[in-house]
């Protein structure tokens, strides 16, 4: 459906709306066609704007990509982080994994965008430098998760694995699950029952 727009410079309220529409349209295009394949003209057209209007908000494709990345993480990350307030590591992981399944169902394009991001960073290293959110999130979330396991005594100090080693262990484990569930299009919680039993062995 094409909307008719009043001529002239948009008012500030409209500017916020159009910014949001560009971000949604950008997310869709970047997820499907990649950073290189997504075209400014098509992103603008899907949002029912002209490329000039898009360029007014985001002078370059990299500016739009960075904005989509922040908007997407701001939706996804808080929903994951809230589960750090669980009583046990086991419970936190259970809730985080269920939350990820819900997010995947509710916002499939968000997850497609985020799962593709590391691939884009490899192809376009200049994008990585603009986006610290991902690394910041990981370096905040996983150490906190390990701290929870330490204080609940599910991760006893008697096993000789350092906090850093355990942090990396749970990072690649959950990251691998996210990649594989998304890539193979088969999300299931079998891994959770494995992790739960593993924690009881420690």
């Amino acid at each position: 459906m094409s909307k008719s727009r009043p001529a002239g410079r948009p008012s500030s309220e409209n500017a916020l709306d159009s910014r949001k529409e560009f971000i949604n349209s950008g997310r869709e295009h970047f997820s499907n066609y990649g950073f290189k394949g997504a075209s400014f003209t098509s992103i603008a057209a899907s949002a029912n704007y002209t490329p000039t209007a898009l360029r007014h908000h985001f002078p370059e494709k990299g500016d739009l990509y960075a904005a989509v990345f922040s908007a997407t993480s701001n939706t996804v990350h808080p929903r994951v982080v809230q589960h750090l307030y669980s009583e046990t590591l086991d419970d936190a992981i259970n809730k985080v994994m269920k939350e990820m399944v819900e997010i995947e169902n509710e916002f499939p394009t968000h997850m497609a965008f985020l799962s593709r991001a590391p691939y884009e960073f490899r192809k376009h290293p200049e994008l990585r430098n603009r986006i610290e959110v991902r690394d910041n999130f990981h370096s905040f979330f996983f150490p906190q998760l390990i701290e929870l396991g330490r204080s609940s005594e599910e991760l006893p100090y008697s096993m000789d694995l350092s906090d850093e080693t355990l942090t990396v262990f749970f990072f690649i484990l959950l990251q691998g699950w996210i990649y594989e569930s998304h890539y193979s299009r088969n999300v299931n919680l079998t891994l959770y029952s494995a992790i739960s039993k593993l924690i009881k062995q420690l």
Binding site: G176, L198, Q201
Partner: protein, 202 residues
């Protein structure tokens, strides 16, 4: 100078192999859409029409490159069943995978891009199930080793398979995307299995 006419038996297999190798590079570097049959032909030193003689279409060529690449990679990373412990088998898998990543980068580039290509080109969706079959073969044989040795005797075969899949694929993708291994990630996997080995065999 090459003789005229259709190449004979062994020459034909050799040409096919050369085309697959050149195509792997081309797909890995430029993606499916960006890959040019002309430059594959130039790299092999044959006419573009000869490629169609062997593979009929770009799509068929892509599928053949996938089969050949997945077979080569999964064959060489799958540890021999002679390992008595999962810890040893995983150490071998990681070492083999590092070597392949460094020496044959186009193999892992090609395979890592498949889920992304399949999103854009639904005709390759069935390769995602092929990909899972390759994974399952390796990861379930590792799971059996771990259950039998006692390292993962507290898990069912499905749970053990998912645990190993998420760890290895998380390790692989993070290493691949960052173009360097996440510090401590190999040690974290091996360290955890060593701990389980020691605590279950006590």
């Amino acid at each position: 100078m090459a003789a005229r006419g259709r190449p004979k038996g062994s020459d034909s297999a050799e040409t096919k192999r050369k085309i697959i190798n050149a195509a792997r590079h081309e797909f890995a570097n430029n993606g499916y859409d960006g890959a040019a049959i002309l430059s594959i032909a130039e790299n092999v030193g044959i006419a573009p029409s000869a490629i169609y003689h062997y593979f009929q279409s770009k799509e068929k060529l892509y599928v053949e490159v996938f089969e050949s690449t997945a077979n080569a990679i999964w064959d060489s990373v799958t540890p021999s069943t002679q390992h008595e412990t999962l810890t040893e088998a995983i150490e071998q898998l990681l070492a083999e995978s590092r070597l392949l990543g460094d020496e044959l980068p186009s193999y892992s580039d090609f395979l890592a891009a498949l889920p992304i290509e399949a999103r854009l080109h639904p005709q390759f969706s069935n390769l995602l199930s092929r990909r899972t079959e390759f994974q399952d073969r390796t990861f379930s044989s590792l799971a059996k080793i771990g259950i039998e040795s006692g390292e993962l005797s507290f898990l069912g075969e499905k749970e053990a398979t998912e645990l190993i899949r998420s760890l290895i694929m998380g390790w692989f993708f993070e290493r691949h995307f960052r173009q360097k291994e996440v510090p401590l990630s190999g040690e974290a996997i091996v360290g955890m299995f060593k701990y389980l080995k020691d605590s279950t065999t006590q």
